[in-house]
Subunit: 422 residues, 2 copies
Amino acid sequence: MSGYVRALAEHAREASLVLAASDGELRSRVIHAMAAQLDAQAERVLAANADDLARGRDAGLSAALLDRLRLDGPRLAAIAAALREIAAQPDPLAAVGAAESRPNGLQIERRRVPLGLIAMIYEARPNVTADAAALCLKAGNAVLLRGGSEARASNAAIAACLHAALREHGLPEASVSLIEDTAREHVLELLQLSDLIDLAIPRGGEGLIRFVAEHARVPVIKHYKGVCHLYVDRAADRARALSLLVDGKTSRPGVCNALETLLVHADIASAFLPQALAALAARGVEVRGCERTQAYSNAVLAATDADYDAEYLDLILAVRVVDHLDQALAHIARYGSDHTEVIATDDPAAAEAFVRRTRSSAVMVNASSRFNDGGQLGLGAEIGISTTRLHAYGPMGAQSLTIERYVVRGEGQVRHPESLGG
Amino acid sequence: MSGYVRALAEHAREASLVLAASDGELRSRVIHAMAAQLDAQAERVLAANADDLARGRDAGLSAALLDRLRLDGPRLAAIAAALREIAAQPDPLAAVGAAESRPNGLQIERRRVPLGLIAMIYEARPNVTADAAALCLKAGNAVLLRGGSEARASNAAIAACLHAALREHGLPEASVSLIEDTAREHVLELLQLSDLIDLAIPRGGEGLIRFVAEHARVPVIKHYKGVCHLYVDRAADRARALSLLVDGKTSRPGVCNALETLLVHADIASAFLPQALAALAARGVEVRGCERTQAYSNAVLAATDADYDAEYLDLILAVRVVDHLDQALAHIARYGSDHTEVIATDDPAAAEAFVRRTRSSAVMVNASSRFNDGGQLGLGAEIGISTTRLHAYGPMGAQSLTIERYVVRGEGQVRHPESLGG
């Protein structure tokens, strides 16, 4: 271990103490100033991004990776707009929790405090640099950012904007600390710093996330994958169900809230599936189905267990006909990833049973899986999605970067007055 | 790995699905029935406990350990009373979170769900068996209990009462699963079951907790130690400060919310310390102080860095005179364990600064450190205390065993309507 990351983390930790005691109004102004700096320095940021893109093309990066890496005027403006949305949200530290007066006169209050120092470990997307910094700052946390080497110049240019805004308002630049040397050993070093880092959030491919989860001595919040299901109930409105299917599978197949499996109630299969398979075929979606599904089209390949387990992230869909809701629920319990499940139904009892008996972070009744996203759910941006039921479940906004503590006020109360005598 | 624990955990996992869909009213009735069973079978439980105690004495267990292990009529009645208190609490799963309507008409609701399956790993205290089972059940979780071998017979007898209550109300016995074979290899097996166990909570000595934290592949919530501070401000009421000191240090020195260090503002030291040192000496408390403290009594030994770091759990106290609040805060930041800090002051500005600038799970203004306890803070019993700022911070009651998820209701809304055309 070189100590390079420890030194950065120590400074960031000191900055986190300043932020924890800072005013919410001030933190909001700084985030507005960050957006303004991104606007003002757009040319520099785009030039740095062009360098990254040129290097990436020379290195033979895939088109998908280059697309994630690419910034342009509108994308940069969208990043600034997300920062302004975060700045405009209420201060998560000002939220007053339950307060209570005890029989002995003690006043018990629950007050939100920041987590402290958050480490973000991510890949090619430079927007994460700005989003994560703004969300952490909003909640009074310092952040240690380790982006992918392919976005090195873009991240440095964005960080320069963020630092200018922090300086402008007298907050320490170390509040947003960028690990500029992207050697992988530094990630390992970072993951050991359990005395300095309160939480690590990895964002990227499953390989990165498993690497972080396996090596971390600091707490990690993560999600591995999204195997999202649409269950078309026998009481579904077929036109709606078709919309949910097409939007869920095809509007952006490469993201974690896209649909991967369609489950169809046997009673509606003969009315719904031919139409659905035609719509999918028209959009170039390859279908892998159970035997009953295959009966509706020669183009349907046979689905295996591996298909029901797969997060395709591509124009491929697994389809299965089920006899009843219970069978759909059993399928989801076995193959699901606790990410997002959708039911299309006009039967309130079926909807409520589906809601109660699925365990995923988000359950949608007659709405697209693609809405499981921090922005769509009203959180502004999101710093990540959790598919483990601990601390946060689903998209994480600024409030997920805080925790409640106890503040107790008394007038000298003691627990064992009898111990005072003598 | 023998698979013995995996098989138990698989059954408990299945039970957790039943509990997650169960009614809060029913779960409350079962907890009442558990209390009734403990009352009705008190003789059997006490006889089993007598066996454990006899075995423990033969094995040469310390008096302190035997005391933790010992049950008697009043202690068993207190356990049953704690269960009734938990049963009477509001259903944590019924708490309605923030609800919101989005501009596109989506109804976003946050609904609490159980964590799933909780593993408790603890030592000699048999009351944990009942407390943990009741808190987990209250929140709709199944629990896998691994108590210490010295309490084997007591835990089995208590578990028999809990199972009788579950059976009586048609809930699976595996909802409360006791690992009866206490071989240590089974703990290791348990800690690897990340596909079945949602959270592990170790309770006991620092050795057990470090063992769990180091070997766990499942999430762990824990606290290592409580180095709790009392800061006597220059504006403190001296009589009150003395009560807080004596109660905090001497009412039960062996627990984690006992005081370990006293910090005294220099302006009040000459008025407060002689009185405080006399009161401590009268109660047999050994004092290790800074040079300025030593000036007040020949009996005060010199404090070292190790003393400021120590959780004595004994009648020993470290004492330091500080020049101002900032120095007290710096001391706590350096040596504290994020457990409990107390300020004695009549100055509201000093109190507020102390609250804002300490990071511990509980901060007390003019109240004893000994109140940082689930029962005292109104949670009923507590399943553990967390001193890490993730998921829970401070004493954990039933609500800390739940998490919010998203329930979204729509009328067929999709994210990209343009993708539907064609």
